[in-house]
């Protein structure tokens, strides 16, 4: 499925935006202007943007935890102001400021998040089942290589293949899970080898190439919507920084080597995408400059919105009233 120029432009713009959002979050956490933690997506924002930008409005989108899903949020057109307000405990947060990082935009069919890595392998079965019953929607299920250790991943893949559910298992394989390296945690070179056990089609792609990701996911989506069942898409990516900002960056118990990290930096997806859009004359340098300017302006506006929003401190009674539907 070759991309048109307008599609490439949109992907490029979303990638730049996502990259700006990620840097905004890194800056804020270091400045103490974010609640809790932040797991930086630096150098790995292409996968989420590519996977999410061309989904249908009815498709269900489960973002990866890394970069707190910002690549997917950018691709989906989520209101980043309300996203940030949630991460700062403000009344305009998308969950009223009570969720910290558990952001959710049900109207965008991004139902929510959890601190339990791999939790989504449970509801994805029902999302897929419901999508099949409805007939005109599918599920993009994003998560990391680490999450495929969970037993729930097996049950989800089993059910998906057994019932031919319209699900794309989209794995951002950055080769790491906190301090663990994938080679220590998985016996095969590719995570997607797991798909073989169910006869599920699997593709391995360069997750740094936002265009390749979009093409592959859209093909898998078509396959799903045609009633042909799930696909496993493994996007090879990388982790430039520590697992969460401020903690040590180790491989097992040793610091990761600076030279190795320098190598990784060469695969920066924004740099790759920029050369391509320039080479293929999709965008001019001037247009690119404008995209950067807009992204910067959007970040400023997002931060102002979140910072201006009052701290959310509802009463115990108000909170209790939110536990159950009356």
């Amino acid at each position: 499925m070759a991309l048109g120029k307008e599609q490439m432009k949109l992907l490029y713009r979303n990638l730049v935006r996502a990259d700006h959002f990620d840097k905004m979050m890194m800056n804020r956490i270091m400045q103490g202007k974010l609640i809790g933690f932040y797991h930086p997506g630096d150098g790995a924002m292409a996968a989420g943007v590519g996977a999410s930008t061309f989904l249908g409005d009815d498709d269900i989108l489960n973002p990866h935890h890394r970069a707190h899903g910002l690549g997917y949020a950018a691709g989906r057109g989520v209101d980043i102001g309300r996203y940030l307000a949630e991460h700062t405990g403000k009344v305009d947060g998308c969950c009223g400021g009570r969720s910290s990082f558990h952001w959710s935009f049900p109207e965008k069919k991004m139902y929510g998040a959890s601190g339990f890595i791999g939790w989504h392998f449970c509801p994805v079965v029902g999302w897929g089942w419901a999508s099949k019953r409805k007939g005109n929607q599918m599920v993009l299920m994003a998560s990391g290589d680490g999450s495929y250790g969970q037993g729930g991943a097996h049950e989800a893949m089993l059910f998906a293949m057994n019932w031919k559910l319209p699900i794309v298992f989209f794995c951002e394989n950055n080769g790491m899970a906190i301090h663990s390296t994938i080679s220590d945690m998985h016996p095969m070179p590719d995570i997607s080898s797991l798909a073989q056990g169910y006869g599920m089609p699997a593709v391995v792609i360069d997750g740094q190439d936002v265009f390749a990701v979009a093409e592959t996911v859209m093909a898998a989506r078509k396959h799903a919507l045609a009633g042909k069942g799930p696909t496993f898409v493994e996007a090879k990516t990388l982790r430039l920084r520590e697992h969460d900002v401020g903690t040590p960056d180790l491989a097992r118990a040793e610091p990761r080597e600076a030279a190795y990290l320098e190598e990784l930096k060469k695969r920066d997806p924004v740099v790759l995408a920029t050369s391509r859009v320039l080479a293929e004359k999709v965008l001019t340098q001037k247009q690119i400059d404008k995209i950067y300017k807009d992204a910067k302006a959007e970040v400023e506006q997002v931060e102002k919105f979140a910072d201006d929003s009052p701290v959310a401190q509802p009463s115990i009674e108000e909170l209790l009233a939110g536990v159950y539907v009356a």
Binding site: C95, F121, W129, H154, F159, Y324, V325
Partner: protein, 323 residues
Amino acid sequence: MSEVRELPLVEAIKEAYRQEMERDESVFMVGQDIAGGIFPHTKGLVEQFGTDRIVDTPLAELGMYGTAFGAAMEGFRPIVDFMFAGFFLNAASPILAQTAQFRFIHGSQMSLPMVITGACGAGMRLGNEHAMLVHNMIAQVPGIKVCMPSTPYDAKGMMIAAIRDDNPVAFIWHLGTMMDRGPVPEEPYVVPLGVADVKREGSDVTLVANGFQYKNAGIVADRLAGEISVEIIDPRSFSPLDIDTILKSLEKTGRLVVVDESWESRSTASEIAAQVVDRGFDLLDAPIRRVTIPNMPLPGGHMEPYVAPNPDAIEAAVRDVCR
């Protein structure tokens, strides 16, 4: 008043399923071997509703539960059947962590209308795993309603209430009541969740019991008739717990025994005692006694009858607080 049909409790549950699935296209059931049926409560439903709505899954509780959990977000109203209620533990993480908090933590924007069900109870002599009443494990965590019926009438009305509720509801039922017969109106009706029922009036002591233990409570009240006047309260729901009905009864009796077919530790019996001593301290004329499974896994074999709560143990506790 026209005469009312009698049905076994398990058929009352099935009638609730049937009527609600007829009424509302979005209701469906998911479980293991429910098309064929393990207990009679699902037998025959697949013929009427087909495999799109009576959904059998592989032997995998996370995937099975997930079918319900995810579908509920998409506008369906699933009933997920764990066969034996204790098997819910294989999906404890999505139930106790994700389902329970999903609405609240995400800003109370979404609802998860779903029923989590399973059979349980001492009586099969197979031990802990098959007998476990899991109500206390679930009721410990806010965000899921929990209930268990004692009579066929309540079974139908509470199941309909559970299906129509926009919250996740865990509805467990006791195998020892499965074939109990009682009047059940044919038309659909609702027994509200969170409301206890004074099932037998009395003036000397308040005896709280439900499920199979409700029958044991009745045996004890009969035994003591003429000597001690026992008021029996069926809490029906464990969460929310209707403590007001119990407090009201205590205004009359001043004495309380709670039967709970579960371990004593952090049980509904303990919770009721704690709430009563908090809110009804002045009403109490005697210690509150709890009749539960002692703090051990329920053994199988020939030990069930005397390890699980039973009429003798209940009678002793009632006599004790009435001394």
